[in-house]
């Protein structure tokens, strides 16, 4: 351990903060500087589409760490300061206020920003009732406009769109959800699971319109306000509020300007190093080669940010790190807890435990009798066991899997007992 090495971490989201505290927990003695462009106290993002919109999140519950914890761990937190450039030759970062900071190790935890509507249909930037959702101020703007009886159009049928729709319904709004896809959650789940979620939302009152492309927006005379959403097929939806959740663009600009390898994410190796070994990257902004899936992936999730942060802390402190775990994710809509593990791309068949008529089932995405991914609804124990099934790519018997009378624990034990289970 190099006791006096300085670590500079760019980004005060989940990933950056976890690296900072993980370093101290693993015994790092050197200086730790954590820089974030946002002036907000570093906070959790998942509540911003859920409890925060419901008005149920206290400020305290949002903080990743108490404001006092940074100083207590001797972590220099610089909030509201943008990094303008990385000077790799001098091993310095240049801050927007003119300061430079030296580093021995640099960690890029720059996250992402919402993908914006195509230029030809984007409303003008001054519209007060058109919102994306990523930051605390986005969430606050939305929260203040969740007025009972008002109309909302949600654009996008990923997790943000669905969670915002659910939150708005709970506030008594009239919600229309428009998506260009032919089904909700199309990038991440099987058609059967999409149908389950469409039924859930429609039963709650959301008007879901699939295969719908936005042409543009009708604005008020002063251009401050969206009045209606206009679709390419001519349909108009009058509205009081529009929230768009159409994806995340990784923040790689600092990295590419510094000459680091970038390809829809900052490229990192198995030691989380970029193409410059003194610089590491993680979280929403980083692309790495998954040893479980044997392909390059970039994962946008809290569990991934935390896992990679702990890995970086262990590596920098010369400690052993855990082997790669299957990525997992959660989404809460109404009172339905969806927990998913793995990436289902390339699945050949699905096996269902339970029935999708009730919010109590697990869907296994299999390829050659190994589970690429599992979606669980209100089944936390099966979700946890499924992490092993996916991480270890266990060879499982689909007939047993489909049989609810056989506990998943037994199926796992049987798989491990097989001589060629790996």
């Amino acid at each position: 351990m190099k006791a006096h090495e300085k670590v500079v971490i760019i980004g005060t989201g989940q990933a950056g903060v976890e690296v900072a505290f993980g370093l101290r927990a693993n015994g790092w003695q050197g200086e730790i500087t954590l820089i974030g462009e946002s002036a907000d106290i570093p906070h959790h993002l998942p509540p911003l589409s859920k409890a925060y919109l419901a008005g149920a999140a206290t400020a305290e519950s949002l903080y990743l760490r108490t404001p006092e914890a940074y100083q207590a761990q001797n972590i220099h937190l610089l909030s509201g300061i943008r990094v303008d450039a990385i000077n790799r030759e001098a091993a310095q970062v240049q801050l927007a206020d003119g300061q430079t900071l030296n580093y021995d190790r640099l960690v890029l935890a720059t996250g992402g920003r919402p993908r914006t509507m195509p230029a030809d249909c984007a409303p003008l930037a001054e519209a007060d009732n058109f919102c994306y959702l990523r930051t605390l101020s986005d969430a606050e703007r939305i929260r203040l406009q969740l007025v009972p009886g008002n109309r909302m159009v949600v654009i996008g049928s990923g997790y943000i769109g669905l969670e915002v729709a659910a939150s708005a319904i709970k506030k008594g709004m009239q919600v229309t959800l428009l998506t260009i896809a032919d089904r909700v959650l199309d990038r991440v789940t099987a058609p059967l699971v999409s149908s389950f979620y469409e039924r859930l939302h429609r039963a709650a009152g959301v008007d879901i319109q699939v295969n719908t492309q936005i042409a543009g927006f009708e604005m008020s005379a002063d251009k401050q306000h969206v009045r209606a959403v206009v679709c390419t097929d001519g349909r108009r939806f009058d509205t009081d509020l529009v929230v768009a959740g159409i994806g995340l663009v990784p923040n790689c600009e600092l990295a590419s300007a510094a000459g680091l390898q970038v390809d829809d994410g900052i490229i990192v190796n198995e030691l989380m190093q970029t193409s410059d070994p003194a610089i590491m990257a993680l979280g929403d902004c980083a692309r790495f080669r998954s040893s479980i899936y044997n392909r390059w992936v970039r994962i946008e999730s809290v569990p991934n940010a935390l896992e990679q942060a702990r890995k970086i802390a262990a590596i920098l402190c010369g400690k052993a790190c855990r082997s790669e775990a299957a990525p997992w994710f959660w989404s809460d809509q109404y009172d339905i807890g969806l927990k998913m593990v793995g990436l289902s791309d390339g699945y050949e068949r699905i096996v269902i435990r339970g029935s999708m008529e009730q919010p109590d089932f697990s869907v296994f995405y299999l390829r050659s009798n190994r589970a690429l991914a599992v979606d669980t609804v209100n089944r936390p124990v099966e979700f946890n066991l499924s992490k092993q099934i996916v991480t270890d790519q266990l060879l499982i018997d689909p007939a047993l899997l489909a049989d609810e009378s056989v506990p998943l624990k037994e199926i796992i034990a049987a798989a491990r007992a097989e001589p060629n289970y790996a």
Binding site: S61, W330, P380, V381, F383, N384
Partner: protein, 107 residues
């Protein structure tokens, strides 16, 4: 606002003032107690906030739900009669002085 003592496996004591309505997991993580993890956001879904509750306080806690009991079986460290997931322990005045021990591992 009441006091909770968390004792790590290596004997380190952490004393926290925890507001009513806040879970022990949330208090621990936000104050940098690194051996309580709680990645699932406190929904009794990951069993990484496992603690052993001091015997003197076991009766003062509501019994675990079926969900918590099921998830405790997934805990990495030895599960004992006084094992709980501390995301399900919500602070209240009756728990002032609560002492919990943290197991040697959460995964």
């Amino acid at each position: 606002m009441s006091k909770v003592v968390y004792i790590s496996h290596d004997g380190t004591r952490h004393e926290l003032d925890v507001s009513d309505g806040v879970s022990l997991m949330q208090a621990a993580v936000s104050n940098g107690i690194y051996d309580i993890v709680g990645d699932c956001g406190g929904s009794a879904s990951c069993a990484t906030c496992h603690v052993y509750v001091d015997e003197a306080f076991c009766d003062k806690l509501p019994a675990p739900t079926e969900r918590e009991a099921g998830m405790l079986e997934c805990a990495a460290a030895e599960v004992k009669p006084n094992s709980r997931l501390c995301c399900q322990i919500v602070m209240s005045p009756v728990l002032d002085g609560l002492v919990v021990e943290i197991p040697d591992r959460q995964w």
